[in-house]
């Protein structure tokens, strides 16, 4: 059956207090953006505790549901049949016909659940439940009632119109993108960082991303891979501003002046510093990384202490307690896995020491970093000047590249 209206269920936003309208407005906004990609015109409106999306004219149900299933904040999408306020006799015919069409195989259990917001309707919810249940049983003798665990929950809502639905298709949950502000994701070509970005976006953050490029040690294809990953995450978050930073000189300087077993830690400290600088000038309120405790040498507790020490913005590490397998599961679910496992090297792997330190001591790292004192500031500034902003959109992976004056940028 082709549907034209969709009821949106959202759980967490419902328990917000005075700010609730902010979240609801953000959700409506995100839904409108998502529906722009679907064929047809849609209206999205919010009534007491409900958000409805309605198509003007025909629409592709599957396409609409899929688009809405990518909007954070939605826990369920219910495609509905829509009827005017009509006498009970008409309603009964419609519900019976609707059920017959939706469930050709009727050996199931069911329950009718009516909500009557329009208290002028002559029967109350309880009466409607009973009457409709009886009518369905009469029409389809194979059906059985189960009020505790029904196979099918037939919901009838009586508002300014009557809505009938039986399916609740799961949404991604979370909070609408942007409702929590904006943060800067340190995006590599691996499995973890896109998942970390996705998870924080799910908590309402809008994402910007920074990628550290190290030509000639990394290839053009490695950058393309990161753009592809960003585009896949952007399917949930909307356009992502990807900052592409040339990191080669800093990396070589670290290699020249610092102990090799501390290379990765020191490198990550500079990545955090640069990411924070970009974050500050682009109004990002936090950094996001894909670190998972103990996964590699640079992600032990002591290593995290060292990398954390260079920035003052909060650093969100949503995967910190995840096993690799759990991360892989999420990345497969959100569709970044196949891109992540393409084999191009990123700058984290090119100079890895055979036995990197796993328990670095902050003092020692800082002392070794002082070897870079006379050149590093200039190098960081230079790296920031290489900032190339690529706006990555999920739709057709439109990639717009341009460079702009890093100091006057603001968004």
């Amino acid at each position: 059956m082709e549907y034209q209206s969709f009821l949106i269920k959202y759980a967490e936003i419902g328990v917000k207090g005075k700010n609730r309208y902010l979240f609801e407005d953000a959700l409506v906004q995100q839904m409108r953006i998502a529906l722009k990609k679907c064929s047809g015109t849609f209206t999205v409106h919010r009534t007491s505790g409900r958000i409805f999306a309605e198509a003007k004219g025909a629409c592709d149900t599957e396409e609409v549901v899929n688009a809405l299933q990518h909007v954070f904040g939605i826990v369920g999408v219910c495609p509905m049949a829509e009827r005017p306020i009509e006498p009970y006799e008409e309603l009964e015919k419609d519900v019976v016909a609707f059920f017959g069409e939706e469930y050709p195989d009727r050996r199931r259990t069911f329950k009718v659940h009516c909500r009557r917001q329009d208290k002028t309707y002559p029967m109350n919810s309880q009466e409607i439940d009973e009457a409709l249940g009886g009518a369905l049983l009469d029409a389809y003798p194979d059906l059985k009632v189960d009020v505790h665990h029904p196979d099918v929950m037939v919901t009838v809502e009586i508002r300014e119109k009557i809505y009938i639905y039986t399916h609740i298709l799961p949404g991604p949950g979370g909070l609408p993108v942007g409702s929590a502000g904006k943060a800067m994701l340190l995006l590599s070509g691996g499995i973890d960082s896109p998942v970390a970005g996705w998870m924080m976006a799910k908590r309402g953050l809008k994402l910007d991303a920074v990628y550290f490029n190290a030509p000639p040690y990394t290839s053009e294809r490695a950058l393309q891979k990161v753009e592809d990953l960003a585009a896949e995450v952007a399917a949930y978050t909307g356009p992502i501003w990807l900052h592409n930073i040339n990191f080669t000189e800093i990396q070589l300087a670290i290699y020249d002046k610092c102990p090799h077993d501390e290379l990765t830690i020191i490198m990550r400290r500079f990545m955090m510093r640069i990411a924070e600088k970009i974050a500050r000038r682009t109004a990002c309120g936090a950094l996001i990384t894909g670190e998972s405790l103990g996964q590699v040498a640079s992600q032990t507790m002591r290593s995290l202490e060292c990398t954390n020490a260079v920035c003052t913005l909060p650093v969100f590490r949503p995967l910190i307690g995840f096993d690799k397998e759990d991360i892989v599961t999420v990345s497969k679910k959100i569709g970044t896995y196949d891109t992540s496992i393409l084999p191009y090297e990123d700058c984290c792997t090119i100079f890895v020491a055979k036995h990197p330190v796993t328990k670095p001591i902050l003092d020692v790292i800082e002392r070794h970093e002082h070897h870079l004192d006379d050149i590093i500031e200039e190098m960081v500034d230079k790296a920031l000047e290489t900032d190339e902003i690529i706006i990555v959109d999920a739709e057709g992976k439109r990639v717009l590249k341009y460079r702009e004056d890093p100091l006057t940028e603001g968004m």
Partner: protein, 429 residues
């Protein structure tokens, strides 16, 4: 910063199309666009282009036009020859012979046949990538239906003794078919299938300044071969599908242009190769693979054991310092190899990094074999000639064409001389 001139040294991956070829194809696309199978004049016009192309190519290969078939690429030609040849002749036996350094189009076809119950003997090669006629003769049995040997290796430029091998095969078993993958050799070597006892020969358009999407297959008289594509019965049913008229005509024109001046072109390519190799004397610890004067068998590694990074029992490589080899000996030795392929091992530098650093200077080379370098895949050819584990990933290939000049070779050499010492400072620990 002024943009330096583009130096394209990846001609074994693909080549720039000759402008003359583009003009001819343009004419065919816009004016002679008929289907060669159509009855009307437009069809005849297109058919004439194909007939002319066949005559040109037959003249080059000294064979009959009816021996020639057009395919979509060299890989397809290899597939038809090996799989089609084996399937059509499997009543005589189910054994095939090839080498370890063939192109994947050959090796994967062999693997497929193995999965269908055929057995395949993979011959090892010496330190310079050569397989000998004796080796092949010893491997051919009564039930051997096909031998596949490449003319020129795509990664190290080894030229196999195809004529001798052909004679040896036929002497041992006259029924054994001989397939030659000449994708890298066509346009660079004189190839005479009948004289060399070749039954199948594969070539490709885009390696000789014609477009991508056209390949050539030679099939000797009286050789049975099963078609792999079913359809309208074009090309005697061996390769159904409307012919790529423009591509075919373009390939023939490109071949004609190359073969009308072959000796001079070969000398140009050899001179560039020699010049580049001599320039490499200035760079420490590099090795040129596949040049017999530089890589001495016996003193060298054991091909049997090679390719295993953990195998520290491998002896030091038997390569000789370029400067230590007398100029005449080196020059003569280079002229026994492919004129256009040069394989350079630069220990301590990862090939991919070197490739990108050269790319920064507008110089394009490839790491290992371009066909497989999208994946971090260690070259089977380099393993087979005994390149050691850590150096497998440090080998680049420069491949030239008649469009290159001596200045291009100098630009590449200059770039390597400045980049390699810099990159060697930063090696992975």
């Amino acid at each position: 910063m002024p943009v330096s001139k583009e130096v394209y040294l990846d001609n074994s991956a693909t080549t720039r199309v000759f402008p003359e070829v583009v003009r001819l194809m343009d004419k065919i696309y816009l004016e002679e666009y008929g289907n060669p199978s159509s009855m009307h004049h437009k069809g005849v016009e297109a058919e004439t282009e194909i007939r002319r192309a066949k005559e040109t190519l037959a003249g080059i290969l000294k064979c009959q036009p009816k021996n020639l078939y057009f395919t979509s690429c060299g890989s397809e030609s290899d597939n038809i020859a090996i799989i089609g040849g084996a399937l059509a002749n499997c009543r005589q036996g189910r054994h095939l012979v090839t080498t370890r350094i063939e192109h994947p189009a050959v090796l994967e076809s062999m693997k497929y046949l193995e999965s269908q119950g055929f057995t395949v003997t993979y011959l090892p090669v010496d330190v310079n990538g050569h397989v000998s006629a004796e080796q092949v003769r010893d491997a051919v049995r009564e039930d051997t239906i096909l031998v596949s040997i490449m003319f020129t290796n795509n990664e190290i430029g080894a030229v196999e003794p195809v004529a001798e091998i052909g004679a040896a095969i036929k002497e041992k078993n006259p029924h054994t078919l001989f397939h030659v993958d000449a994708v890298q050799a066509f346009g660079k070597e004189e190839i005479l299938p009948r004289k060399m006892h070749i039954d199948f020969l594969a070539a490709s358009g885009h390696k000789i300044h014609a477009p991508k999407g056209v390949g050539l297959l030679y099939v000797a008289d009286g050789v049975k071969v099963r078609n792999l594509i079913f359809g309208g019965g074009q090309q005697n049913g061996l390769r159904s599908g409307t012919e790529n008229v423009a591509g075919i005509a373009g390939m023939a024109l490109a071949a004609q242009m190359l073969y009308s001046n072959l000796a001079a072109e070969r000398e140009q390519l050899f001179a560039m190769k020699e010049h580049f190799i001599l320039r490499m004397r200035e760079l420490e610890h590099v090795r040129i693979n596949g040049i017999p004067a530089l890589n001495v068998p016996g003193a060298a590694s054991h091909p049997e054991k090679s390719g295993c990074a953990a195998d520290s029992a491998l002896p030091e490589c038997g390569s000789r310092n370029i400067a230590a080899v007398p100029a005449e000996e080196l020059s003569a030795s280079i002229r026994t190899t492919a004129p256009q392929v040069l394989s350079l091992t630069v220990p301590g530098v990862r090939a991919e990094v070197l490739l990108h650093a050269l790319e920064d200077r507008n110089i394009y080379v490839s790491s290992g074999s371009a066909c497989s370098s999208n994946r971090p895949h260690l070259s089977e050819t380099l393993k087979a000639i005994g390149v050691r584990g850590d150096e497998l990933d440090s080998t680049i290939r420069l491949s030239t064409s008649v469009m290159n000049t001596m200045e291009d070779m100098d630009a590449a050499a200059d770039a390597l001389l400045s980049i390699v010492p810099m990159l060697r400072r930063y090696t992975r620990q």
